[in-house]
């Protein structure tokens, strides 16, 4: 099969560590993954982000060798591994429930793979101890998985995967069983270790905050396909489909007529309501428009102000910022304003920037 890469070809000099070429998988008569195309560069951390049922875990399991694609090719460092069993792949997986072996000590859990590979005993001991030291669990080497906390189990699972020095590290929602505070800490630890070792990593999550904070690039998945593959900033600032716009971050999405004006675009919501746009002009015509809550500009409704007239319906303090629900014409828009920014009930609304999509795509959804 000839490698064809319709989506972003790898950068010059950046080696491709993993290449999924038109991968398709059906399970129980349903098409879970559909002609998926993905290239992961050596040393980068890619998140597969999407709602449950979008095929992200199935894709990861195919990379790990636990499922075989119905069609398509999987290459790791250029070698075709599509039909290679998991024990022969240069991949290591961290499972969602950690999957530690309860009858072995922490040390033996980490040492198991090395023993299978017939690494000499002294060498094995050194590598396991080094790895346990790195994840800060040296003192638990002789504990059993049942005797340590969830966060510690998580780190054992990570050490068990890393000690094999895999070409590819696969993480299946590794943080979903941890509480919120711990999740952020372990997330930072994982990113830190990943960058220190420079290990190519595929990270599956449904948590967009996790994806935005961890990834070099994010592959937003929907319905068995990748909707957009880009850096976290680009995904957030320039979503390429309405799905990505809605799924990643908060987004006000509405249909409007876009008109050109000398000082920018104007979004006409209805006959009495038009919202001026200060930033880059949008394509004119009937469009599906998306505006981030922090990009909505609210000013008190005075004689000399411009913008659509809006009414603040709810004002929710959220610490360092406030979330406002503003009625503009027939729509309710969400806006984030600084906590100190006091506003009357009647405001004028304009937008600093916006993205737009063809409205047909809305009907397709």
């Amino acid at each position: 099969m000839t490698p064809n890469t319709p989506t972003s070809p790898p950068r010059l000099g950046a080696q491709t560590a993993l290449h999924l070429a038109r991968i398709t998988k059906e399970l129980g008569g349903r098409r879970i993954v559909s002609e998926l195309e993905l290239e992961v560069r050596a040393g980068e951390l890619i998140c597969l982000l999407g709602p449950s049922g979008c095929g992200k875990t199935t894709t990861l399991r195919m990379i790990g060798g636990f499922l075989t694609p119905d069609a398509g090719t999987i290459r790791i460092d250029g070698a075709d591994v599509t039909r290679v069993s998991p024990e022969r792949r240069p991949t290591a997986m961290v499972f969602q429930n950690y999957a530690l072996w309860p009858h072995m000590t922490v040390f033996d859990n980490v040492a198991f793979g090395l023993a299978v590979r017939r690494v000499p005993r002294a060498d094995r001991r050194r590598r396991v101890e080094e790895m346990l030291g790195m994840v800060g669990l040296s003192h638990h080497a002789n504990s059993r998985p049942g005797q340590i906390s969830g966060g510690e189990q998580q780190r054992v699972a990570l050490a068990r995967a890393l000690v094999m020095e895999p070409r590819l590290l696969l993480l299946d929602e590794p943080l979903s069983n941890l509480d919120a505070k711990l999740r952020v800490r372990v997330r930072e630890e994982i990113r830190d270790i990943q960058q220190r070792l420079g290990i190519t990593t595929v990270f599956v999550t449904h948590d967009q905050e996790e994806a935005l904070s961890l990834s070099d690039r994010i592959a937003v998945m929907n319905d068995g396909r990748i909707e957009q593959l880009d850096t976290p900033d680009a995904i957030y600032r320039h979503p390429s489909t309405p799905f990505v716009a809605r799924f990643v971050g908060t987004m006000n999405v509405f249909e409007a007529q876009v008109h050109d004006r000398p000082n920018g675009s104007v979004l006409v919501l209805d006959a009495a309501t038009s919202l001026p746009l200060a930033g880059a002009p949008l394509q004119t015509g009937h469009r599906l428009v998306g505006i981030r809550p922090e990009d909505l500009l609210l000013t008190p409704d005075e004689d000399d102000t411009v913008g659509a007239v809006g009414t603040v319906e709810r004002d929710i303090p959220l610490g360092h910022y406030r979330e406002l629900m503003v009625r503009v014409g027939g729509s309710r828009l969400r806006a984030f304003v600084p906590a100190t920014h006091r506003l009357p009930a009647r405001v004028r609304v304009s937008a600093a920037r916006a993205v737009s999509f063809a409205p047909e795509s809305e009907a397709v959804r």
Partner: protein, 285 residues
């Protein structure tokens, strides 16, 4: 404790009475259970040393060791013990060899007729065993298995199959597949995954199955008698002999001898079966 406000006297008394009633109830229950479980055993123990014992008396009129001499001097006893101690482990081993792979298949492979087969295995225990043996004996005659050691092993095997299939199947099924996948991921082939991960985790349940199978084989008398007698006399079939020809005290002595293997087995494995270290540590959602 001292800082807590004492509850009103009446509720305090009611609480104490309730607690006392609970204690009394629990004690009575424990005594009842002890009587039902230990009573027959005590009676058996007394009977084995009883010389003459007339009905209404609580204890025998006289004590004697003669029944023990009688049994231990019996020429057939030694050979029956030896045969039992050889046959039962062989039957258990054969049962493991046949049933454990089957149990794994029942647990992990969704094949056609899986449920029906499981129930069929259970059904061998649903009918009177002797009817089954009678029907089987004609087959055994045809295959020249009557009066052979192989025939005895096969007939004893029947009673072990249900234990050796159902219990390990449940144990294998309860091992999370992700534990096996993690071992594959670490580079282990399917056989090593089974031996290093699945089997050790299922081991306590398999140990229980081995004990129950061993005891089932050890205690099997009807089929063994039908197929093996007179060449192959095991301890339970020898007991039939004794019941027919000797006073009850001899049977009591023999029962005690017969129960030794079970007691020893139970004591040996108690630590492994009861300890929770194997069961703990599953991170299941």
């Amino acid at each position: 404790m001292s800082r807590t406000i004492p509850p009103p006297a009446s509720t305090e008394r009611a609480r104490r009475i309730g607690a006392a009633a609970t204690t009394v109830g629990a004690t009575v229950l424990a005594v009842l259970i002890a009587v039902f479980v230990l009573g027959p055993l005590v009676w058996l123990g007394v009977q084995a040393f009883a010389g003459h014992w007339t009905f209404p008396r609580l204890l025998p009129d006289s004590w004697t060791l003669s029944w023990w001499h009688e049994v231990l001097a019996d020429a057939n006893l030694g050979s029956s013990i030896r045969l039992s101690l050889i046959l039962s482990p062989v039957v258990t081993a054969v049962s493991m060899l046949i049933c454990l792979p089957a149990a794994y298949a029942f647990a992990r492979m969704p094949f056609r007729g899986r449920r029906a087969l499981l129930i069929a295995i259970f059904a061998t225990n649903a009918f009177p065993r002797f009817g089954l043996f009678i029907a089987m004996s004609s087959l055994f005659y045809a295959l020249n298995l009557m009066g052979t050691a192989v025939g005895v092993v096969i007939v004893q095997l029947i009673g072990t199959i249900v234990f050796m299939t159902w219990i390990p199947a449940a144990a294998f099924a309860s091992v999370p597949p992700s534990l096996e996948e993690a071992a594959r991921d670490a580079g282990a082939g399917p056989l090593r995954v089974f031996l290093r991960v699945t089997l050790p985790i299922a081991a306590p349940a398999i140990l229980v199955a081995i004990i129950l199978s061993f005891l089932a084989a050890f205690d099997e008398a009807q089929g063994t008698f039908l197929v093996g007698a007179p060449e192959y006399i095991t301890m339970p079939t020898e007991m039939y002999n004794l019941i027919g020809h000797y006073p009850g005290q001899v049977s009591a002595v023999f029962s005690i001898l017969l129960s030794i293997p079970s007691v020893v087995l139970m004591l040996l494995v108690r630590r492994h079966v009861l300890s929770g270290t194997v069961a703990e540590g599953f991170q299941l959602r």
